[in-house]
Symmetry: D3
Subunit: 131 residues, 6 copies
């Protein structure tokens, strides 16, 4: 339903189209997903969010696939259905195999479990972990 | 403070010591961190949790460093201070450089932000993401 | 689907109808949304929840629109789809413009991001913030 | 403890000092809080985060105090202790009275409660809320 | 540190003392914990919160110990340190044995794990669960 | 939609069928819910998760119904729709009455509220709760 609806390329302003073009060029795709079409109602947020993501997700000390899997890990932890669907596909396009996805899920599940055991048992941080 | 206190190696039962030994051997360290010393009050949970973690964190389709960084990503998203401290050190021991940590934090921050933009704008999942 | 189904006005007990009437009178609407129709299966909870919300959301040191936007901020952070949908409409009815909604989303997104950066970098609270 | 420690003004690079200067000028303060001193280890993140916050928190359709209270609402929902401490003080400096803080907490508490009642009763979104 | 400090019995107004008295009588203790002393700065919230908790935590279809353990489960899931500490002690006073606490933690950990596996694998709700 | 689809009994490997059989025997049902059919794409995770759940949810210091309600409490707190739907039905099959469900929801809602009040007021843990 999206609060304000979605802005398609043909209906977008020149400012928004320029960002859509950059998204498609950067991602080597020929379509824009709903996230950006919804944000397009707020061009400053569209611009800022895309610029940030483009910078953050670019190859660096971590490769793009690892970054995409971290994105999935966070989205799963937060139960964000849209983000799980979109970033799982993005990770697959960047080379995530089924085997990698399955291990990713196992780690995310385990971490969510031990995060609670640590909290529940009220465990203090070891001196060795404080540098 | 830890709800039941911590069980040191010298005070541990043979059953618990065997797990402590396996943890130290697997991780190539000579000490046990508080998480395990607290869980040791519940040997079945200690045993199950260690066995699961050992299986899940072993090298596979994903390398151990990537898995450890995913663990950090989840722990940061959940605001689990103990887990952030311990898994950051574990990741560093497995080769995470400062540059990698910084990019990891950027991705985690960004994902937490766009998770909420997606929810807040009530964005529907694109057909393309539904396979 | 709602666990117990929804109780419509015409099927409600006198006790439940009295609360429905008060909700409609207070909110100046002529219908009851599903949240209350579901809670109506548990009259003490229906009564307590409505009484609390009526007290908390009334004009005070904060105006009703600000309160409603805070409600949206929490609901978005928690990924509660029902609450996002209902409180966004409530905020709009109380005067939230599209421009206000967009800024609200930006702040919520940003706060969710820096909450994790603070946790991830294990930042200690400044003495100046401890009063 | 902060993962990398804190970078004080006197030890900062010219690039970092320029941001510190802008933070102090924008906020009309003569000190930098730990959040920025920790992020300073990663100048691109420091720069991006400050630029985003400066844009997002500026006066607009919502006034700066309202934005700051929304920041507190999110931080409380996420149990981010650092952010609660720092943004509560920021909100107080922007004019949040004790009475406003108390109402803010009441709304945040209530929203967190009804978010779960909505989820727990599996309540469907009303047609009226779908536009 | 508590935002407004704590209000001790001797410094409390008659209105606040009456609630403190009821808390101590209901719980059969001779002291008030910090949660209430902090809320006492906002008497309407103190009164409403205590009244709600008194009603909700009273014996009913669920016994008080079960309710207290559910409280712990939620608090652990949310990483609320204060609530974990206080409700664990409350549960112990109501009869929670060490064995019960350990099983409680196991269930909470497991539920947090499978919650993420369900989300991550994007699993649809079975028709059988929709009644 | 489930990321990899669902594996029906007739299409399952002998290894997976053995687990399906054990699930149905343990739960005294004649069907397998989607959670397991999705996990079946990753037999080690299917096996480990079922083994853990079977151990953890078995009668012990806590009875199975109490455990199932704790599972619901966590799932509701995490807004996991699949888990809420499935574990609510499981709890009902183990004897949860409507009255019990309603009280469960009240406690979960209240705990989520006071978790935030504790965090928001920055309340320190009482010495009495530190053992």
């Amino acid at each position: 339903m999206s609060t304000f609806g979605l802005i398609e390329y043909k209906d977008a302003s020149a400012e928004v189209r320029a960002i859509y073009d950059d998204i498609m060029a950067t991602r080597k795709t020929d379509w824009i997903n709903n996230f950006w079409k919804a944000l397009a109602h707020d061009p400053p947020t569209l611009k800022r969010t895309w610029k940030d993501i483009k910078q953050i997700m670019a190859p660096g000390a971590l490769d793009p696939l690892t970054k995409e899997m971290i994105y999935v890990a966070v989205s799963v932890t937060n139960q964000c259905n849209y983000c799980i669907a979109s970033h799982t596909v993005s990770a697959q396009k960047k080379g995530m195999t089924d085997a990698m996805f399955k291990e990713l899920m196992s780690v995310v599940g385990m971490a969510n479990e031990t995060n609670r055991l640590s909290a529940g048992y009220q465990i203090e941080i070891d001196e060795q972990f404080k540098k």
